[in-house]
Symmetry: C2
């Protein structure tokens, strides 16, 4: 991961509501979650949520797909792992002091909650 991408990902996660959204997506796993379900879970207005989704998508931390009238957002685990890798690599002066941690999606869930 390039420094530019790392800064983008960090910025995307450096906001209360957005961090909440991402954490929720991570919990939901690869099945993802509808925008509405997230709006309900976090009690956020839909337009505000769209704004934050855009940030996460732009940073490569989430993807969207349509499902009927809903849109389903999914966490992008690879980007998160790349970020963790970047941070650990750049943490000890180029010589990694610990194996980069990785994150796999949680065991399958009912997904698309609500």
């Amino acid at each position: 991961m390039e420094k530019t991408d790392a800064v983008a990902a960090l910025a995307a996660l450096a906001q209360d509501n957005r961090l909440d959204v991402f954490r929720l997506l991570v919990q939901a796993g690869p099945g993802g979650m509808t925008a509405g379900a997230i709006a309900q879970a976090l009690d956020l207005p839909p337009n505000t949520l769209t704004f934050h989704f855009d940030r996460l998508r732009l940073a490569g931390l989430a993807t969207v797909r349509r499902d009927g009238r809903s849109k389903i957002y999914t966490a992008q685990f690879e980007t998160m792992n790349a970020l963790l890798g970047f941070l650990t690599e750049n943490c000890c002066g180029g010589a990694p002091c610990a194996p980069a941690p990785t994150c796999k999606p949680a065991r399958k869930r009912a997904s698309v909650t609500a």
Copy 2:
């Protein structure tokens, strides 16, 4: 680490110049680096640098001490590790999928470069 602190740390690192500063401090190790040396290394005006130092300090990612006319800034490895821990813990739905990575300062350096 609390969510609030995580957001603060993320925000502190989510900026080009500041990420550079922090990486430099990490490379310098526990000996730290003078503000002047950093200013020279990154070609940043001293007042701008002070601004960024404040952010890093406020986020707990750096500390200062005085040495004669200079001020020496040092990376706070514990906070960085705590952040990595927070991110990995919150990455797989509460159940960590990998041991949290840790970061120890690089092998001692000449430190206080310049």
